[in-house]
Symmetry: C3
Subunit: 338 residues, 3 copies
């Protein structure tokens, strides 16, 4: 079950320093790894842990290998290399290509080869499931959904009618894709429902975290491009589009019809207004409040971090008196002119 | 399957300009609609799209019909009229009034006529289901729940014991209604559970978005009035009451015992403290922080939108120096007096 | 079904003033309780309701009993005493120790005595379920999960492989424990998945609110200590640790590897950056933004509460001009020196 350092180094494009025949069988942290484990150092701040580490081998960048007292594998990017090595040592447990007898599968559904369908799954008419798809227990897949090759649905996922999930995309438990967008029109004080006739199109190699929700489009589709990674408990409104290889951290909410570019990185707890555009390469720190389009790549922030409550009280009061302070300063300036 | 413009105009109280016998079969956006589709213009900002639109007909307000180069339907409120027309062209697909054999239904449950119950649904003792109710696959309906006429539960909804859902209310996937409120009492440093013996009462024509949670009351009930529309991932604490025809956008959290009036409109990501009152007709913009009661109708806001991170850093520092700045200005004023 | 005041007083360590043989059968609020109900007063602000209350008996602190016009039970802490009395009058309805025939249970699972398993539950290989566990309908329990004595899973909970749930812990509907953490590494612009090989360990007497998510650790475990109480829709990132008897209100998000101490109280909607430490005994008010470690117990806050939108606009503009204001004040000071 173990792999030699030579085998790992070959896969992660690294160079072994030490015993290339040494075998490791799992990964561990620098502090707690045992001699059968592989560790890594990607942040030089933790360099001091190299000396005491009991790991059997450590993945490091070239400038760090001299500090390793055990075996090392030198690489360009230790974190990426670690990710690849960990995938080798901890391969995803393949579910057997079986269909649980309790699954309620409409006979009109097309099911590819090597498909695993868990207990109590529901698959409605017209669903298309390509090869190598894994569907966890309790998932509900409404009519006319398409699951492309290699999709993984973890347990209790809900895919509403007609949504289209790209190849190798992973969807975590509790996710809801394709529920109606929040479309309401005010008819003399009462809100009436605006039918949501679009769908959701998810690209390839996307990952969607637990309990995240992605609404179907009002007229056209909500679109998540290839390689997008979404954390848990994110809310994506109708007709949002997210460009390739953008990542969004947990608890972020994006209102309808907003368009996010490619290669963006959005911190957790961010809120975005609807009908705005975020340029490619925009980064937002956590809890950002975005009310207008951002037209240039760069790092943006908002919010004022915590302070002791007494001080906070005082500062909030001062904040509210600021306008008067401007007037007072102006008056002083005018007096000075005299 | 199509409808003539005359038929649609009659239902939406509009006037056809052009060929009243023209048929459309679905809706489309101004930019992408085809000749078989109906579109609409509700925001005059998009007037320029009228000329190029390939739509078969366009719903517009009276002052806009002169710019339409195809058929038009003139109405008072194009968005409301569009909502109604879209409902005609895209009627909700009725589930057949069937009970899936895999549903686990307690024999004591009362089930009305024309009820649809999906696969793997669980219905516990004492549940009352009125006529024309649709229950999606995977829903769990605990004992003594009441689903009134025409309720729609989408898949994987959880209704805890005793909750009461009003007529025609729509509940989206992953919603949890009636879980215990967050009631804890500090018993010498350890938190003990306060039993949550109230329930949840939801009115008629309410819509509740995916993965929203509404807790049961501590002693009395949590109450959502008729016509309230809740978006996704909203958290409603125990004993909250929300008045008629109020709407709340996604990711909003409302702490226990807070009372929201009628006809309120609450932006996404808003947070409200517990035990406060929000007057009728209050509007809150997105990410509002509400710590005290709001006693008058009006629009309220908080939060400081993003700026480039360098500037943000500087501004946060300045914010924290504000109190000293007030002192400095005061000193200047005193010097000036001398 | 009722209890005498004497019986209740004994259990809650109180003293009856009035008729100790009087029976009550449920709890009610001061305003609405009937003569068969027990109420309580814990906040002296509501003292005025004592006079009109129709409750059969009222739990009060010693200094309040003179204002009670019906029977009273004097205690040290009325809210804690109420919690205990309510638990006596409203015991949790025990599910019968039955296993629903529709549950899909792997034969390798170990199931203790007095265990209740609801309809459509899925229990995978290697799961260990100790005595007196209740599993609501629709729960999915992946392989090698441990549910210790007296655990309660409400409906539609998802426990991913290998997670360990401590004694008497209560988990509400829609909760997901042990989904993959948000581990991604940037491999030349594309994000690749970092395997999440840790698990989640939840202590005893923990309560976890509806639709909350707790991710599995990247290498080591995510750990929630004994007595922690989590409200709804909280997101806990990978490798977070939360110390004993800390409580967190709804909609809070905690990024990966952050460590929260013991006896903390965190307000709803709070956001915490990753890789920081929060000392024991820290309290945070609602919607706090925590970007750095907090090393001392105390109360902390951030955020600026709502104001009328017009004023908000003006204040945001002033905020952004603050830096210039500092310059202007400095200039005035220098002029004054001259």
């Amino acid at each position: 079950m173990g792999l030699t350092l030579a085998q790992i180094a070959e896969e992660i494009n690294g160079r072994v320093i030490g015993d290339a025949t040494y075998e490791v069988s799992s990964v561990g942290t620098l502090s707690n790894a045992e001699s059968s484990q592989l560790s890594f150092l990607s942040n030089s701040k933790y360099k001091k842990f190299l000396k005491q580490s009991q790991a059997g081998a450590i993945i490091v960048s070239k400038d760090m290998s001299e500090y390793v007292v055990t075996n090392a594998i030198e690489v360009d990017d230790p974190y990426v290399a670690y990710a690849k090595a960990a995938s080798l040592l901890h391969p995803v447990k393949k579910h057997s290509a079986a269909i649980h007898p309790s699954a309620a599968i409409d006979p009109s559904a097309e099911i590819g080869s090597n498909v695993s369908i868990g207990a109590h799954v529901v698959i409605e008419p017209g669903v298309i499931i390509k090869d190598n798809v894994t569907i966890g227990p309790g998932c509900v897949i409404e009519h006319d959904v398409i699951l492309r090759k290699g999709v993984t649905l973890r347990p209790n996922v809900t895919l509403c009618f007609g949504v289209d999930i790209g190849e190798r995309t992973i969807i975590h438990p509790g996710v809801v894709i394709g529920a109606d967008g929040f479309g309401i029109a005010n008819d003399n004080g009462h809100w009436i429902k605006v039918p949501q006739v679009g769908s959701v199109k998810i690209g390839s190699d996307v990952e969607i975290g637990a309990n995240t929700t992605i609404d179907r489009g009002a007229i056209e589709d909500t679109v998540i491009a290839d390689g997008v990674k979404l954390d848990n408990q994110i809310q994506i409104g109708h007709n949002v589009t997210i460009g390739k290889h953008s990542v969004i951290a947990g608890c972020t909410g994006i209102a309808g019809s907003t368009s996010i570019g490619e290669y963006c990185a959005i911190g957790g707890g961010t809120g975005m207004a609807g009908h705005i555009n975020i340029a490619n390469g925009v980064q937002l720190t956590g809890m950002s409040m975005v009310t207008k389009s951002i037209n240039e790549a760069g790092v943006y922030s908002s919010g004022i971090p915590v302070e002791p409550t007494k001080q906070w009280h005082k500062n909030v009061i001062r904040y509210r008196q600021m306008d008067k302070l401007f007037d007072r300063v102006k008056q002083l300036e005018e007096q000075d002119k005299d």
